[in-house]
């Protein structure tokens, strides 16, 4: 028996396949993009190939994330909050607070016994999300993935006063023209984002162990800034992008197993890998 979790985030699509003992058989990440959102089948195909499995071998599939409704072959949809909570608890059984900073939103979750008990998310704007770093990296002319290492060279702390992504971009340009070094500015940006997310987490209440996930957790400078802002240890999974997809796969296994034990047959979707279609397309 095999299970799949498909996490369609605003920036990245992730697929995790597991067996009945929770062993990860494959893990594929790809950009979501405007066209890719309807190509969840492609990412799934790659994941199956990596695990040498056929789509019919998958007993139950759960889709999660922003694009969870656009996965035609998924048997059920569960929000990314519940899936992250489940995925993080599998990797860190002692977790009580999880913070996920993605491309479009930031989520803080309180977890008990592996289950989501409460959560808070950022408002709809880009402040407090990965987009804040993407936009400001562009303004600085550096690569997003280099920001962490660059920030470690900082020699002084610069305070970025604007939390709005657009205004922060202007502030960065003003700082550059004043002669501030990019590494100091990057460190300041990390502090600004971390303080915003930490404030969100404090609304919910912080209890250790605390785990940071999402693309932003790959940035060592951000992890350090989060530690400073939260005033507690911050744990990071080896692969912080896939906790949502992993949690979805584990929930798929749990839901399926529970149903089998209860003698129920869960309805499943067609196991044909086809791309999602949208109403607008059908009417064209």
């Amino acid at each position: 028996m095999h299970f799949a979790g498909v996490d369609i985030g605003s920036t990245m699509t992730k697929v995790v396949l597991i067996d009945k003992s929770d062993n990860q058989l494959s893990c594929i990440k790809g950009p979501t993009g405007p066209e890719h959102r309807r190509l969840a089948n492609e990412v799934m195909r790659q994941a199956l190939q990596q695990a040498s499995l056929q789509i019919d071998d998958i007993s139950y599939i759960i889709a999660t994330g922003y694009g969870r409704l656009n996965v035609p072959f998924a048997d059920r949809q569960i929000t990314e909050l519940s899936c992250h909570a489940r995925g993080v608890s599998t990797l860190f059984p002692g977790v009580r607070t999880a913070i996920d900073i993605g491309g479009q939103d930031a989520k803080c979750m309180r977890i008990h016994d592996g289950r989501l008990i409460s959560f808070v998310m950022n408002d709809k704007c880009a402040a407090g999300t990965g987009r804040f770093l993407e936009v400001t990296a562009t303004a600085l002319g550096i690569k997003l993935e280099d920001m962490g290492d660059i920030s470690l060279k900082a020699t002084k702390r610069i305070h970025i006063s604007n939390l709005c992504t657009i205004f922060a971009q202007q502030e960065v340009i003003a700082l550059l023209s004043r002669g501030e070094k990019p590494e100091n500015i990057v460190a300041g940006l990390h502090d600004a984002l971390a303080s915003r997310v930490a404030a969100l987490a404090r609304r919910l209440g912080i209890e250790p162990d605390l785990v940071l996930t999402g693309g932003v957790a790959k940035n060592i400078g951000m992890v350090r800034a989060m530690k400073d802002s939260l005033g507690c240890e911050v744990l990071v999974p080896e692969e912080p992008l896939i906790t949502g997809a992993l949690g979805a796969a584990i929930l798929a296994k749990e839901i399926y197993t529970k149903a089998v034990e209860a003698g129920q047959v869960l309805p499943t979707k067609s196991r044909r890998l086809e791309k999602a279609t949208f109403f607008a397309e059908e009417h064209r």
Binding site: Y66, L81, D105, L116, F119
Partner: protein, 389 residues
Amino acid sequence: MSDKSKGLNKAREIYSNNSQRARELKAAGKKIIGYPCVYVPLELLTALDLVPYRTCGDIKEPVTEADRALPHSFCPIMRNCLDCALKGKNDFLDGMVTIHSCDPQEKTARIWESYTNYPYFHFIDMPVTVRPEALEYFKSQLNDFRKTLEAFTGKKLPKDKLEAAIKSYNQQRTLVRELYELTKPSPPRISGTEIVQVVKALTSLPVSEGNDLLTEVIGEVKSRTDVPEKKLTRLLIWSSTLDDADIMQVFEDKANVVMNESCGGIRAYRAAVKSTYDPLEGLASYYLNEITCARTFRQATPGETGKDYARDLQSRFGYLKGIIRDWKISGAVMLLVRYCDPFAFEMPSLKDYFDSIGVPSTYIEYDYTTGALAPLRTRAEAFLETISQ
């Protein structure tokens, strides 16, 4: 609207095209008066043979025109309502009654008046506390309102006609409460989405037609066989305004919303206007004291509760306890319209109150646009997953 349409179908049609009846009545010689908020005492309009029409927003309408008059970080509902007015969607109105129910209403009223050209425009200055002095002042404001209406229509407001109007609206309140009795069973006999459509239809019709519609709907719902599907959670939604069926449907995809405690639901119908020698007295008391919108400051006086937070919460939110018991509520959503300060400031206390009576609750913010639907869905579903797993 087809002649055959009745009950829920008729409510849905009116909801989808809610100015049609007002336009028909206008063509038949009636005078139509707009109002943006349920705090406006419609009884006075009806008693003078004027037709009240609630000027609602439309979440599908992108705000463009209101941008020249109102700031961005401002009540999205009032921005939307004014936008619709500036685009001429209410051009059939003969007048408008606005009210200081909250600051955005007051600010928008001034702008509405200066940007439009209705033959009648009035602003009611409504106090924000429930003190006896406030009641006296509000009554005097209603008296001024009466005088402006008399001047506009050129006729005196007879007491018996006002009393008859009060009776009709009280009947409407009774009928809406009766409708909400039908969400008590599990599954409910009527969905929260259907009720949103019915309540919006009521605010677009003369009171007698609204009461006829309610009677039809109640009869149909009592005998229907296609009741809503039973979901795991019975939700209470507490909000300033939840008057859009698409927004409601986001919640109802995964839960039964059996109580909509907002002005798109039961809020303006939970009590009745008391019979008083001076009808304005009963009206003032009802509108100031009985409508449970956060715009009114209700903290108990120190003499009543001292610094006893639990008793203070009880005095402010105690009415919800009976609802939670009688409607077997298993979860509560505090749905905040962005930038709505009066409701935002109530949330931490209300959260404490829900915690104290053991009802799981969450807080979700939305901005009254269709763009809000996807983020709203994630938050709503995640909350439902926490309570039904």
